[in-house]
Symmetry: C2
Amino acid sequence: MELLIKELTQRVKKASRVMSSLSTATKNAWLIQSAEQIERMKAEIQKANEKDLEGGKSKGLSSAMLDRLALTDKRIREITLALREIAALPDPVGEISRVIPRPSGIFVGKMRVPIGVIGVIYESRPNVTVDAAALCLKAGNSVVLRGGSEAFHSNRALAEALRAACAGTEVPPDAIGFVNTTDREAVRLLLTMDDCIDMVVPRGGKPLVKLVSETARMPVLKHYDGNCHVYVDEDADLDKALRICINAKVQRPGVCNAAETFLIHESVAESFLPRLGKALIEKGVEIRGCPKTCRLIPEAKPATDQDWDEEYLDLIIAIRVVPSFEEALDHIARHSSSHTEAIVTENHTRAMRFLREVDSSSVMVNASTRFSDGGEYGLGAEIGISTNKLHARGPVGLEGLTTQKFIVFGDGQVRE
Amino acid sequence: MELLIKELTQRVKKASRVMSSLSTATKNAWLIQSAEQIERMKAEIQKANEKDLEGGKSKGLSSAMLDRLALTDKRIREITLALREIAALPDPVGEISRVIPRPSGIFVGKMRVPIGVIGVIYESRPNVTVDAAALCLKAGNSVVLRGGSEAFHSNRALAEALRAACAGTEVPPDAIGFVNTTDREAVRLLLTMDDCIDMVVPRGGKPLVKLVSETARMPVLKHYDGNCHVYVDEDADLDKALRICINAKVQRPGVCNAAETFLIHESVAESFLPRLGKALIEKGVEIRGCPKTCRLIPEAKPATDQDWDEEYLDLIIAIRVVPSFEEALDHIARHSSSHTEAIVTENHTRAMRFLREVDSSSVMVNASTRFSDGGEYGLGAEIGISTNKLHARGPVGLEGLTTQKFIVFGDGQVRE
């Protein structure tokens, strides 16, 4: 097993040198051919998927899990559409920025370059096989793919299509490394190959992210909780506040950028909370409030200390009345998972202080936390949302799969 | 001990929230007051330094080590000058960039923000106490300082001056955390405090960097070897090549951006190597060459396989004749430590290919590798040179001590 993983990652690393200098046209040709190849191999891919679905049924997977696993015609269309969309995105590699002359006579700038080899460790959705490989390769990297065992046959068939699509292009098939075993030991081994894998991206539930973060010897682009806050300031436009609070909580409660706690300035609590409570209850939201909230919204249950740290991912909201802007900042500093926070206010000074002082990957004024998303930000497709502080923070698109190096243009200069 | 370190890092973390929103003027006032405070406390600091020097002598430290440790009047002047220079640097914090309108009506941009708490673990030079704290705080961070035990009293006296300089400013003294013990266990404990320390910077020899990298649970801004290459292309201007090779090797051989291997294209070997050999030998450089090199420079010793991976940090150079540009790229990919590489050529296409394809933190055309330096690049003072691929790569100044977050300006927008 160790030999298998070592040999695989070394081949992928070798291919990454070729990948790093390919033209945009070559990478796009591979993306388009991949879409075509998946369409051509559709029957084969769906047959492999059938095997996974049968295996899943006999293992007793829930119908939600089986649904996530299924490669219907519609899903396959979505996968090929995503490939064509990634082909249409601008290539970040090779961008040269800020070239400045120095007193010595040299010119110093930065060039955007691929990271090298990206490991992607993911769970049940087979489309991640294609999305992740497409993004990594478009950014000039090669990729090692390791999906969930329940989607093994589907993932393998898709990876084969991606490798077959290299034919006639300069993209080396080894740029798409697929871990051809469901043995769990393979994950642990991958995470020790820091001489070959430059960064690893776990995509899945918290246990997976935790396992990868604790085991990996290379940097991990990770996403933990999304305990997002909306703070309604004393100078909030309460119509905007209502619209934003409702949208942030109920538009899609199961995702990481949904709000989990509202903080309401006490000077607007009396006028705002009854309205907010009514609207939330109409949408079927359970409210857990501080004592003041419970007084103003009789349907609210008392919140426990634990509620302020909870990521419900469900139609539940915690609400706290705060005596001041500063107390809202303190609450966020103590309880936030540093994902996304929003302030609703018409006061310019507090809006700008909130932007500067809240230490989260996305900070918003008068907008729903639900906008924290690569598509909404204009990044194109995203490989994930990072709650890391370093390298890429927030939604991560192609640029987050690259890094920069210094470049120096001289004319024979030496150092005195 | 664990309690001591925990309590220290928690206080520093708390102070980092205050630091992150201080104005540039406040941070600069602290820097200037620090310079003045060190001048005022000079006698006290030198007395503490005397204690370290006596301890060092009785421990049998080499005279080079004792010299590095000594806080002479000149050194103290340099330390206070550095503080004033850092005060004069532009503040990177708060910079807002690339704010673009999105179809939803929101505006999305990025804001540069401090990282939080930086741990700095260093060896004998006491000036690092001041330099590191000044850079970290100017970039809006707080710092935990842990110096070498042989400089303990000097470091403590300097840290006390920095804390005393907070008086009358809004900079909290806890933003400068000093590990007040020489117990080695403190280092291990610090490196596990990833809930309080966001990044750690080891400054010292390879064993220290290795220890920190292997132990730290937080990201490490590290610098390993500098096995730097100069490649002399078939279209090189041989006068420039000679000047650059000699400068890269002999101007200061003991530093990481000095060259350790020259690669010479075979079509210029006959005309160039005898000239180069003569100049190197005049400068007292020992040459270890491939068979062709040894034929053209009779004084050269045969190189072993190990020589291509060696960071001599001394007046020794490895020289290899290569049959092609591609073979030079391959040699660099195999042996380089990804620090700094240079090509000497008048050929535009190969110059640009070299810039793009060589995967090092600095890549140069027609300039000495010795330019790979924060001062030469115009970054101002540097906290170190990073050979990491992610976050900061190459010389790291104030900007490398910050990160970015997304900011969103809305006017009540919600997601459809």
